[in-house]
């Protein structure tokens, strides 16, 4: 009997982990659809930033309520993993509470897990209330309708159920230990180890050991199967941030926020144009075979890998959107939507590759089919979104790359901007003044 359970467990475990590994592979493949970008410099600084922001949650707590609750759920998640390890060992070897040899310390551990589980439960319930019953601006945007809203709620329900199963399992186990049931009896008393599940003991009053075992085993199995399911749900969900927040922060931009990269492709061309010795009629260099470089981004292939990683990491929390001046004044731009659109498009492209083995043009692209020009032109490049993001995402870089495409590939700047640019080109100022008048102010009276 036991051995069958063990075999089933191993199969479930391998299936769960295997499916997860397949998804991670796809994830990496999809991110690699983007252009390469070198962010392997300054490793020390990058590690420090990751420790502070991803591990230390330093940006989360800037919003005290959400931040505190998140830290609780986050700690719960990390610490309860020790329990999961025990469950896995027990499952594979048919043991019962294998770590209990630690005696008193084990009791302390289990008690701590119970308290955390309870706090997580409370935290998750408050999260649900905030998201569904309170009118919080960043949870009301149009991009949060449908799947994103459901996804967020599913995660919360899931966590609630997992915690309840954990506590039920403990309670039933405890009752069985008290009854001295075979297999459940441990070398030491776990009396002090169940500060929370103690409260649910009374519902087992009068139950036979056999029914208790069924309750305990059911809760145990559902708990671990739930975790395996959850692991695989990650890929399809904003919850992926629990894994990607770390590399995402690591690879985030270290330069001052105001510094936008100088496009290399443009550098070459400008150098050529400025060089008086360059022969405009010279035969094209040996790399003429290459396709001419595209300026800016109209689809995900033109974005870099960090930008695509950003899109998978986005938690859809909307802190960026809540701070965005354009969004706050009713304009269409929402930096969160920029990130969600990017991910949706990468996923769409990924699905084509899954199906056909390679990407075949589907007549769609990120620009226009997902992100509208009106959104792009509303941005003031103020960096409020970048500052607000708790996981180091840079929505602004995508906006800028798409503007670059509009202007340099399509000459599709709004007309007034086109005029300002012509002025810069001809007069050295965005206004139609003569460069020779630049010092006139010094001649004027004060």
């Amino acid at each position: 009997m036991h051995i069958i359970a063990q075999i089933l467990f191993v199969i479930a475990l391998l299936a769960g982990v295997g499916f997860f590994a397949r998804n991670i592979k796809r994830l990496i493949r999809n991110i690699k659809l983007g252009r390469e970008i070198d962010r392997n410099d300054r490793a020390g600084e990058r590690f420090a930033k990751m420790a502070r922001i991803a591990f230390g949650q330093s940006k989360m707590v800037r919003k005290p309520v959400a931040g505190f609750l998140h830290v609780v759920v986050y700690l719960g998640f990390i610490i309860i993993n020790i329990e999961v390890l025990e469950i896995v060992i027990d499952g594979v070897f048919g043991t019962h509470r294998i770590f209990s040899f630690m005696g008193g310390f084990y009791n302390v551990l289990i008690a701590a897990f119970e308290i955390l589980a309870f706090l997580v439960l409370v935290g998750v319930i408050i999260f649900w209330i905030r998201r569904n019953l309170m009118n919080i601006y960043r949870f009301l945007s149009r991009e949060l309708k449908g799947w994103p809203k459901n996804d967020a709620n599913y995660i919360l329900y899931f966590e609630m159920v997992l915690m309840l199963l954990f506590l039920t399992m403990n309670a039933a186990d405890h009752q069985l230990q008290l009854n001295g049931a075979e297999h459940y009896a441990l070398g030491h008393s776990m009396q002090a180890a169940f500060p929370i599940s103690n409260f649910i003991l009374p519902i087992f009053d009068g139950m036979t050991n056999a029914s208790l075992v069924i309750v305990e085993r059911t809760a145990w199995w559902l708990h671990i199967l739930g975790i395996l399911f959850f692991l695989n749900y990650l890929y399809y969900s904003k919850h992926l941030h629990i894994l990607l927040a770390f590399p995402n922060v690591y690879y985030s931009k270290l330069q001052p926020k105001g510094e936008f990269d100088n496009l290399e492709a443009v550098k070459k061309e400008v150098a050529l144009m400025m060089d008086p010795d360059a022969d405009p009629f010279a035969a094209p260099a040996e790399d003429a075979e290459e396709e001419p470089e595209k300026f800016g981004a109209s689809d995900i292939f033109d974005l870099n890998q960090v930008q695509l990683l950003n899109s998978y990491t986005c938690t859809e929390c909307g802190r960026c959107t809540a701070e965005c001046p354009a969004n706050q004044t009713g304009k269409k731009l929402s930096p969160r939507k920029i990130m969600m659109d990017t991910r949706d498009r990468v996923e769409e492209v990924g699905a084509i590759i899954n199906q056909k083995g390679k990407f075949e043009d589907d007549g769609k692209q990120l620009l226009d089919d997902y992100i509208l020009r009106e959104e792009l032109w509303a941005c003031t490049t103020c960096n409020a979104c970048v500052e607000a993001c708790p996981v180091g995402i840079d929505p602004l870089s995508i906006i800028l790359d798409m503007r670059r495409y509009l202007v340099m590939e399509q000459s599709a700047a709004p007309q007034e901007l086109a005029i300002a640019m012509t002025n810069i080109e001809n007069n050295g100022a965005p206004w139609p003044y003569n460069q020779m008048d630049r010092l006139n102010w010094a001649e004027e009276n004060k």
Binding site: Q255, P256, K257, G258, E259, F260, L263, V266, K267, V270, M273, M274, G296, E323, P325, A326, Q328, T329, G330, K331, K332, E374, W377, A378, T380, T381, C382, N383, A384, E387, L400, R403, R404, Y405, L406, V407, M408, A413, P414, E416, L417, A420, M421, I424, E425, G428, A429, P430, W431, Y433, Q435, M436, D437, R438, L439, W441, A442, E443, E444, K446
Partner: protein, 263 residues
């Protein structure tokens, strides 16, 4: 005082075989915009008062390319940068001060990758260093005790992490500094950045500068202090829109100091 300011150019310095201590990068707004020109002049007076040996490029200065870059025209930006860097390097410029956070950011952060590396300071940083070195003295004067709020320019604050220099200067003026609910790293944009200054905003329910002005009005200031010619324009328009121009002034920090010194 009706006489013209004496503003030496780099060309004159070069002709005399001299190098100034610092180049004052005036910027497009500071050169052409009537409101911003007042900031330029106020800053020049402070430089003169502190005996700073400075020069401007004058007609050799051109747009840094900031609005072009942020609108997505990387070509135009790099062309502008290349021209400016050629001029700056030709004069062997080491140190630059500017009253425009956009020029400041671009020259400081984006020019080095294109061959132009200089020590670049925002005018509030430079004024602060003059005070610290004792070359300039500032006292409260007419601003003492006045309720003043400072609007952080995105390209000085969030973009370059400088929140304190302008505030230190205001404190020197012994003002009552009150912060808006959105300030420093959470500051709200004035609405001009990213080349928005040169176009109509996209449709929405309000302009950004109005929203920002409302935030400023919430703290009931007598003066809204700014550190950017574009913010200055945006906030001035906002105050006008709220019909408060009789009660609330929008002033650059440099203007306030020059004003306190009755320059």
């Amino acid at each position: 005082m009706a006489e013209a300011l004496k503003v030496p150019t780099m060309a004159e310095y070069m002709a005399a075989g001299k190098q100034p201590e610092v180049l004052f990068w005036v910027g497009c707004a500071g050169s052409f915009d009537d409101r911003a020109k007042k900031i330029t002049k106020a800053f020049v007076k402070l430089l003169q008062k502190a005996d700073v040996d400075f020069a401007v490029l004058g007609t050799e200065e051109s747009c840094t390319g900031d609005p072009a870059k942020r609108a997505g025209n990387e070509f135009l930006f790099q062309m502008q940068a290349a021209t400016n860097i050629e001029v700056l390097n030709g004069y062997e410029i080491k140190k630059i001060v500017t009253a425009c956070p956009h020029c400041f950011n671009t020259i400081k952060n984006e020019y080095p990758g294109l061959g132009g590396s200089y020590e670049v300071m925002h005018h509030t940083q430079f004024l602060k260093s003059l005070l610290n070195e004792g070359r300039l003295k500032v006292e409260g004067g007419k601003f003492k005790g006045k309720k003043i709020t400072f609007h952080d320019p995105c390209y000085l604050g969030r973009a370059n992490n400088e929140y304190e220099a302008p505030r230190d200067l205001l404190r020197k003026l012994e003002v009552e500094l009150v912060e808006m609910k959105k300030c420093k790293r959470n500051g709200l944009c004035c609405g001009a950045g990213g080349a928005q200054m040169f176009k109509e905003p996209e449709p929405g329910n309000k302009d950004v500068n109005i929203k920002r002005t409302e935030q400023a009005l919430e703290v009931n200031p007598e003066i809204i202090a700014a550190g950017c010619p574009f913010c200055n324009t945006m906030m001035t328009d906002g105050v006008k829109n709220k019909e408060k121009e009789g009660d609330i002034a929008v002033m650059d920090v440099a203007e306030m100091i020059a004003n306190a010194e009755e320059l």
